[in-house]
């Protein structure tokens, strides 16, 4: 079976006690697509990503990647969260090389060197995570996951803890990194700019229990960046999307 990263969720349900977080949730993400999911705070975005990653089991429904059911965490699905999860006792090089080392990838050194260059962290290869800035830490966390070359990348508000300027730089960087790869990506965020700048498709979630209430393609071209923020089409769509998200509360 080829590893293209086609993600399909059908009728997914998840509750914590009496709190219904997801109810008959459906999602389909084609291979290589960056699918941005926007939703109000507390609607179940993180729970959804944890289910897709295999960190939690659904109460009902199915999640498959390339036709294989998601039954637990796997190196074929990489997730990066807001806090990141770099190992504090390992330096940047060791953190990025952690996955390839675990499965004895013979290309480990080359992969790590490439990702250090892509992230601009070559000069910080021997630094511990606590010596990095927030933006550098997130770049290292994304590189750590990409080192395994997963067909599916899950980003859970990965830049939520960064300041506005760093976040914008990170958007441009991630957009470039994803454009060079065929990784299918699901990004959940509550930041409309982020969703519109990074997504190929945009889905809007309802308030809890989350359901996908609308879905559309985003066509701002490959070279999206800070200049896109002032594009009239972008501004108009942002207002429309914002209305839709707020109406879903």
């Amino acid at each position: 079976m080829t590893s293209s990263g086609v993600l399909v969720a059908r009728g997914v349900r998840k509750s914590y006690g009496d709190v219904h977080v997801l109810d008959r949730f459906d999602l389909e993400v084609p291979a290589g697509c960056t699918f941005a999911l926007l939703g109000p705070s507390g609607c179940g975005k993180t729970t959804l990503l944890r289910l897709l990653a295999g960190f939690e089991a659904a109460d009902g429904g199915t999640v498959t990647v390339d036709g294989e059911p998601v039954l637990g965490p796997s190196r074929r699905r990489g997730m990066v969260s807001q806090a990141g999860a770099l190992f504090p006792w390992l330096n940047v090089r060791q953190n990025i090389g952690f996955g390839p080392r675990e499965h004895g990838d013979p290309d480990r050194d080359r992969i790590v060197a490439d990702l250090l260059a892509v992230t601009g962290l070559t000069d910080f290869a021997k630094s511990l995570p606590r010596h990095l800035s927030g933006g550098m830490r997130q770049r290292a966390a994304i590189a750590q996951v990409l080192a395994n070359r997963p067909p599916l990348l899950l980003l859970d508000e990965p830049f939520g803890a960064l300041d506005a300027q760093t976040r914008l730089r990170m958007h441009e960087w991630v957009r470039g990194v994803l454009a060079e790869r065929t990784t299918t990506t699901v990004l959940v965020t509550h930041d409309v700019d982020e969703a519109l700048l990074l997504g190929d498709r945009l889905g809007i979630l309802s308030a809890r229990p989350a359901r996908l209430v609308s879905e559309r393609a985003l066509a701002f071209g490959e070279k999206r960046g800070r200049h896109t923020l002032s594009d009239p089409a972008f501004v108009a769509l942002k207002a429309e999307v914002l209305d839709e998200v707020l109406a879903g509360r």
Binding site: P73, S74, G78, M79, S81, P88, W89
Partner: protein, 220 residues
């Protein structure tokens, strides 16, 4: 100060000088006893702590027992150790072992239980098999707190030497102090106290220096 009045007038330093040769024998006996008992406590305490910290099932079963035993004063073990193991080396080592064990158990189990779930999930996601999580995540993540437990345990092991040596050993700093008490040799008692202080301090410094490279990442 040349003399000291503690119940009787004693020329402190004059009392110590002729004692030097025997003093080394006592010190080396105590160090050996403490070292062996502490080493056993480190191995067994770490294993128990890892089990209690990593498994809720093991913790539910054994934690009440461990907490109960931890509360038993070392002096309460002394008669049992003497009755069961006789007088001499064995009960001394066992008593030091018991005193050193609990800080390691508590520090290890607490630190392992507090390993961030995100780190475990990330490791699983990156391909670490469950059996390897111990080496890759639990131990390195918990190590700074385990080291704190080891330092506390080493100091406690050293302070327990005096209790252990009350079980009838003929050599050791504690045995020397016990004999000095019976013969009213305040000078030797003071030498024993100073020896405990200096050796305890140096032992902690040596341990801290040895483990520093592996926990440097956690230093603020």
């Amino acid at each position: 100060m040349d003399t000291l009045y503690l119940g009787e007038r004693v020329d402190t330093f004059a009392g110590v000088v002729p004692y030097r040769g025997a003093g080394w024998l006592h010190l080396s006996a105590s160090l050996s006893r403490c070292g062996w008992s502490w080493a056993y406590a480190v191995v067994i305490g770490t294993v128990i702590g890892l089990g209690l910290g990593a498994s809720k099932w093991v913790a539910a079963l054994f934690e009440p027992l461990a907490n109960g035993l931890r509360a038993v004063p070392l002096f309460a073990w002394l008669p049992l150790a003497i009755v069961q193991l006789g007088i001499g080396e064995k009960p001394a080592r066992v008593l030091i072992f018991i005193g050193a064990l609990w800080p390691i158990v508590v520090a290890t189990s607490d630190s392992v239980a507090r390993v961030p779930r995100a780190q475990l999930e990330t490791a699983c996601m990156l391909g670490t098999p469950r059996r390897r999580l111990w080496r890759r995540i639990y131990l390195p993540s918990a190590l700074p707190e385990i080291v704190t437990g080891l330092r506390l345990s080493l100091i406690l092991a050293w302070t327990c030497v005096i209790v252990g040596e009350l079980s009838g050993t003929s050599r050791g700093v504690g045995a020397m102090m016990n004999a000095a008490r019976e013969s009213g040799r305040t000078d030797q008692i003071i030498v024993g106290i100073i020896t405990f202080a200096v050796v305890g301090y140096l032992g902690d410094r040596v341990l801290r220096t040895l483990v520093r490279p592996v926990i440097r990442w956690s230093e603020s």
